[in-house]
């Protein structure tokens, strides 16, 4: 009946002892407050990150869950990882079946088919672009265009000619340079263009073979393609929104580039760099103080030809006139050279004072006359895929527009995904049909090549010692290479430009996003999904958004891991310090303990006294630490933490993180600290309990 009174006494003892040993209590309390502060603060930050990530990622690409082949060799990674090696996540051969089955699960709202593959776009250099247009114009008999484009070729040839001097100086093969110069001279001559009119094809081949290679090489762009049902994708992923152009119409082939890819990869290099510099300056960087940025500005200016190349002579003249006027307003002395090359270079060589005006001029006057984007919205682009079958597959697909995921606009990782219809995607992915396999077998059979491994190639091929030279039948009839071959592209392929929207959900996909009606029922949905997969033997595995996001989820897990290790280390240190302090305190209090023991306190009472002391200290420190952490989180929650790097944007679910603190974070922090306090006092308490009552009799004051 008096346990309560005893406990009260213990509590009084605990508080009084803590008070009596102020220095010790302060030291331990400080450690515990600090520990709680860190645990609660970082726990809250991490939960906030998880929360915003979960929101931004589930509403962008992953859905609440992802399903893919249970026997996949690699793990699904919706965001690109470090390695560019191909990942094998297996296949979902019959998506319709999977969709039908999984939609039976209560909480599932939608199953979105997906597939990721890499497509390459050959970003041709400017002259390749022009020559191709010229070739098309010739073929279609558009003589006006031929004239304009022809002039553009001459502009480019002229500018390449300008570079030849520098090239001749460093070349190891002067003969070659001489040949190149001759070719350019020819193209710049009137005669060449007279001949062009009579025999344009030969002239075009000459330009292709002799002039185009002299220009800087084009770029090969690697684009990450997510094949899906675009309509459904737009509907189910709330983060998705269109920026430029229009949505891929239902039942049509098409590609939506991510705005990030569009601006950071596909845009004209000069303009892109100019954008970067402008934004840096807008964000407060001073050009006059940042040498790296200055270097960038100089590089942009050096690359002015990327802009000039794109201007027709008329456009050039117009730009030159406007530039001349603009320069006057900018107080540039009239004595400066006023040819277009010099003026564009001047325009691009910005400083803190003129960057605003120059940037505006560039976009108002020059940019509209350029192909700002290598793969412009509204035009068709050729994508190449290294298909599963090994054959290279090219598809032509229209870029309908660009899109973004809200909150993830400035994330390169999220921005790596370009959305396309699954029908086109399947072609790029290129799994072979049975008919196609049979066709290969029949071709193979007609020749019947013996397989010889590298190891025994020499013995197999030369060990026989037979006749090396064989005379062919001299007057064999001329063979017809086209017998049995059909090179014409079928009508059916052209018709495939549009398709029955239902086909998107029929056939191959690689993975699928599961969207829940009620996200709070996640845990149950997971069990239900697994049961359904089991029941219908779909052979799929289910992963949550965090796992599905690959490297991003991995980062989060790593961060959690780091936090836990940090907590562990902090507490290990705390444990050691508190333990030592408490052992010292025990020794100091030996007479007191001995007295209590002598007058009848059991061991457990002594132990309880010590543990309760630390429990009280832990609780008090935990509360103080949590309050401090909560205050910091609330403050950060109102100002926001800016994302320090691109990768952080995806974690922060936007450019700034507005952290919140939850009861769970606090309970976890306090619980942990109390646990550590008690743990750290177990040994000292044990030592105290071992103090013999006889010491009371030895006590001398």
């Amino acid at each position: 009946m008096n346990l309560g009174d005893q406990l009260r006494m213990l509590v009084v003892l605990a508080f009084r002892s803590l008070w009596a040993h102020q220095v010790k209590s302060a030291i331990i309390g400080f450690i515990l407050v600090g520990g709680t502060f860190l645990v609660v603060l970082f726990g809250a930050l991490l939960s906030s990150i998880e929360g915003s990530m979960s929101r931004s990622i589930t509403s962008s690409m992953s859905g609440h869950y992802q399903v893919y082949d249970a026997n996949a060799e690699d793990e699904l990674a919706l965001f690109p990882g470090f390695s560019f090696g191909s990942v094998d996540i297996g296949e979902i051969p019959d998506f319709a079946k999977v969709e039908k089955s999984l939609l039976q699960v209560d909480n599932v709202r939608a199953v979105v088919p997906m597939g990721i593959t890499i497509g390459t776009v050959f970003g041709a250099n400017e002259i390749d672009h022009v020559l191709e247009s010229l070739r098309n114009a010739v073929r279609d008999g558009r003589s006006d265009d031929v004239k304009v484009l022809g002039e553009r070729v001459r502009v480019i040839a002229q500018s390449i000619y300008g570079d030849m001097e520098a090239r001749a100086a460093i070349s190891s093969d002067p003969e070659k340079v001489a040949r190149q110069r001759d070719a350019l001279n020819l193209v710049l001559s009137e005669k060449f263009w007279d001949d062009f009119e009579t025999d344009p094809l030969t002239a075009l081949d000459f330009l292709d073979a002799n002039v185009a290679p002299l220009a800087a090489d084009g770029r090969l762009l690697y684009l990450r393609m997510i094949g899906t049902d675009p309509q459904q994708f737009k509907k189910e992923f709330e983060g998705f929104y269109l920026v430029d152009g229009e949505m891929i119409p239902e039942g049509q082939r098409g590609l939506l580039l991510s705005k990030r890819t569009y601006e950071k990869l596909i845009k004209n290099l000069c303009a892109r760099d100019f954008d970067d510099v402008y934004h840096d300056v807008k964000l407060g960087t001073k050009l006059s103080e940042d040498t790296l940025l200055q270097e960038k500005v100089r590089r942009i200016s050096r690359q002015y030809q990327r802009i000039l190349f794109q201007l027709t002579p008329e456009d050039s003249a117009e730009v030159a006139t406007k530039l001349r006027e603009f320069r006057k307003t900018q107080n540039v002395p009239e004595t400066e050279p006023d040819d277009i090359a010099a003026m564009v270079q001047w325009l691009l060589l910005v400083n803190d004072e003129n960057i605003d005006e120059n940037y505006k001029f560039f976009y108002d006057v020059i940019a509209p006359k350029m192909n700002l984007y290598e793969v412009p919205v509204g035009q068709e682009v050729i994508l190449r895929g290294f298909t599963q079958s090994g054959y290279i597959k090219s598809v032509k697909v229209k870029v309908w527009g660009t899109y973004e995921f809200s909150g993830l606009e400035s994330s390169d990782l999220a921005g790596a995904a370009n959305v396309m219809d699954l029908v086109t995607w399947r072609e790029l992915y290129g799994r072979m049909s049975d008919d196609q396999k049979a066709e290969l077998d029949s071709i193979r059979e007609t020749v019947g090549v013996q397989d010889v491994s590298r190891e025994d190639a020499e013995a197999a091929l030369f060990g026989g010692g037979g006749e090396l030279e064989v005379a062919a039948v001299p007057d064999a009839p001329v063979f017809d290479e086209f017998a049995g071959a059909n090179l014409k592209r079928g009508e059916e392929e052209a018709a495939l430009n549009s398709f029955d929207p239902a086909t998107l959900h029929q056939g191959l996909a690689l993975n699928a996003a599961i969207i829940l009606k009620d996200p709070s029922g996640e845990a149950k949905a997971l069990t239900d999904l697994k049961a359904q997969i089991e029941k219908d033997q779909l052979g799929l595995q289910v992963v949550d958004w965090q796992k599905a996001s690959g490297i991003v989820g991995g980062f989060l897990m790593t961060m959690r891991g780091v936090l836990y290790i940090a907590i562990f280390v902090i507490f290990l240190v705390a444990l050691v310090i508190i333990n030592n302090l408490m052992v010292m305190a025990t020794l100091e209090r030996t007479p007191e303990i001995g007295t209590m023991r002598a007058i009848g306190a059991q061991r457990w009472f002594v132990m309880g006294m010590f543990i309760l002391e630390m429990l009280v200290l832990g609780l008090v420190s935990g509360v103080i630490g949590s309050i401090a952490a909560a205050a910091v989180v609330l403050w950060l929650g109102s100002t926001g933490i800016p994302a320090p790097a691109d990768i952080a944007v995806i974690f922060f679910g936007g450019d700034r993180l507005y952290p919140v603190i939850s009861a769970m974070d606090v309970i976890f922090g306090i619980g942990l600290i109390v646990f550590v306090s008690v743990l750290s006092t177990l040994y000292p308490a044990f030592v105290a309990a071992r103090v013999a009552p006889v010491v009371a009799m030895q006590g001398k004051e």
């Binding site: 007295t595 009848g600 009799m697």
Partner: protein, 230 residues
């Protein structure tokens, strides 16, 4: 009725490095209920050791200790603790009060450990006890606010509050001036008289010894001739 304390050939040895210190070397001692016994002897003669054995805070190396007819040799630490709590009260040379508790709480402490009385009974008992030692006005004070004599009074109150069969006091007056020491002995003697509590205390002080009902003289760990007073 058996003796309240019965030592039979009690030996206590302390290992000290390679040596063995024989603090008590075979003591037969029997103390009756209600006796007011002084244990005297020169410094180092074994008085404290003897009290330790009687008080069950230490166990003999050989021989037996019987308290109230019960042999202690087979008891566990828990049982010995319980025995001390219920049967023995301690008064220490250096008072050994719990400094973080006030007078009232110090006196209440053993009662709480016992956990037998209701809160109100406990309160009554404590206040009564404090009054007996004459500290009612200082009841809310902490030990460090009290004089040596007052502290020892608190210690006496604490020792007596559980109404133990025996009260042991190891040189209760050593840290007090002679007047205060005398007052403490008077108090003890008074309680011995009124409440029939058995007191066993050690002392150097001949003045104190002279007031004992019985004097047990210890020399070199052995009992010398025992002089009985009236």
């Amino acid at each position: 009725m058996p003796a309240i304390v019965q030592l039979t050939n009690a030996v206590k040895e302390y290992p000290l490095g390679k040596l063995v210190v024989k603090a008590v070397r075979g003591v037969d001692l029997s103390i009756e209920r209600g006796e007011f016994t002084a244990i005297s002897g020169p410094s180092g003669s074994g008085k404290t050791t003897l009290l330790n054995l009687i008080g069950c805070v230490d166990v003999p190396t050989s021989g037996t200790v019987q308290i109230d007819g019960q042999s202690t040799s087979a008891l566990s630490d828990r049982q010995l603790t319980d025995l001390r709590l219920h049967k023995i009260g301690f008064i220490f040379q250096s008072f050994n009060l719990i400094n973080v508790l006030d007078v009232y709480q110090n006196v209440e402490f053993p009662l709480l450990l016992q956990g037998e009385l209701s809160a109100s009974d406990r309160k009554k008992r404590v206040e009564e006890m404090v009054e007996k030692v004459g500290l009612t006005t200082q009841i809310k004070q902490r030990p460090n606010e009290l004089s040596g004599g007052q502290r020892q009074r608190v210690a006496i109150a604490r020792a007596l509050v559980t109404r133990p069969a025996i009260v042991l006091a190891d040189e209760p007056t050593a840290n007090l001036d002679s007047a205060t020491g005398k007052a403490i002995i008077d108090l003890m003697k008074d309680l011995n008289h009124k409440e029939h509590i058995t007191f066993i205390f050690s002392t150097h002080d001949a003045n104190v010894t002279s007031r004992a009902g019985r004097v047990v003289r210890v020399v070199d760990g052995l009992l010398a001739q025992a002089a009985e007073h009236a």
